[in-house]
Amino acid sequence: MISATIDRLAAVETPAAGDGYVVVDGVAKVFNAGGRQQVEAVAPTSFTVQSGEFISLLGPSGCGKSTLMMMVAGLDKPSAGTITVAGKATVAPRPETGIMFQDPTLLPWKSALENVLFPFRAMNRPAEPFFERAKMLLDEVGLKGFHHHKPRQLSGGMRQRVAICRTLVYEPDLLLMDEPFSALDALTRDDMNLVLMKMWQEHHRTAIFVTHSIREAVYLSDRVLVMSQRPGKVIADVRIPFARPRPLEIGETAEFNEICGYLRGKIQHRPGG
């Protein structure tokens, strides 16, 4: 039984590049670390994300997964290779991509509602038509009655909920999330995963989620891409078979833990070391 699952997991093949919504093709990143010293953050790596798919980039700290994400976002340029989103090469941030960072990144001097509407201000588009939508989103994530609170009046979890609303309010077709819940305590984190799942199912989007939490990756994703130690590259591509909606309790099933164990083995593997 157990070995059958593992065989099934290992048998997943990476779809051929070129037919996905996000296509990362041979992307590498080398940083200048001052002087002649160069640090290879991302080794040439390729993967594809289908439209509407939720994938996680899972890897140890400092493996270059955030760097990879920033390149998909168009905030950083690859040293080699190409990234295509919705059929177009990524050279700069695109307005249809929504990003969540490790911290909520809220404007401290603006209310929750104004923060949710910040994307329109940044894009220099009228925000008024989206007032109702912003309020609805805030209510949906359980922030009814907190619309006019300032970030410092909100808890860490509440701030990250505001950030989720801010990312969804302008209906991006691609969500990029860079360890958005890593600064939260375990209980709040479970809570946030539920909120994220609910929101993702309602506002179905292609999503890439960067995390170093194996359980989080398995719980949230359709596919988990495991990255190696630095220089990071995708070393495993595992399909997560659970049906949605997923209750938090699936985390206690044997199959869930078996997948986690399999992924842990992959992460700890050091090629040549």
Binding site: A73, P95, T105, L107, W109, A122, M123, K150
Partner: protein
Amino acid sequence: MMALAERLRAAVLPAAFALGLLVLWQVLTMAFHYPKVVMPAPTDILAALIDNAGTISRQAVPTMRDTLAGFLLATILGVGLASLLSFSRTVRDAIYPLVILLQLVPKIAWTPLFIVWAGIGWPSRLTIATFIAFFPIFISMMSGLEATDRSLVRLSTSLTATPWRTFWLVRLPASMPYLFAGLKIAATLAVIGAIVAEFISSSEGLGFLIQKSAALLQTDLILAAIVVLCLLGLGFYGLVQAGETAVRRWQGE
């Protein structure tokens, strides 16, 4: 109730201490019969203040005008230059070290040169007040712009905001606390600039009055002018403080 008592204490305690000093000053000058020309008693200063109220208030006008104008000009230049430098790394790296170097020189040392360039009169006084007040404003604005949370800037960039919009929506409001710290220093420096300029090249202003009184050994009048300067400085500082409170309230703190 407790807060009110605490606030009263904060006001009463220093006031009582200052009053105590004044009384001590009065008693000592009276007991030891100091000549008025060396050390006038507080009552002598008050008398000089009342006797010369017209002269002092007349002379306070140009001082106030030069201080305020210098401060405003320094604010425009300081905030403007710092904002400009925040847009280009190359320009910033080229200009910023030079400004820092310039500010290491004692600013007062430039005064005679400004008088040579701008002549005797209000243009040179304005230049000096502006020059002295400029540096703290520029440097604090610069630190504010550079200390802006980088992830906020990155968020704004990821939302395809132009550099100008990122500046307007994120960097500028984020640098306000820094700017006001600089403005408070600049408010006192602008007064110093105006007075020093009046010492050197003026036939009007409180600085001129102080120097003239010194030549005539009117020590009580010097101190009366200083009292007025002190009040002016206090009012000016209060104005900046009120501006900061207004901006903070607007930013919702």
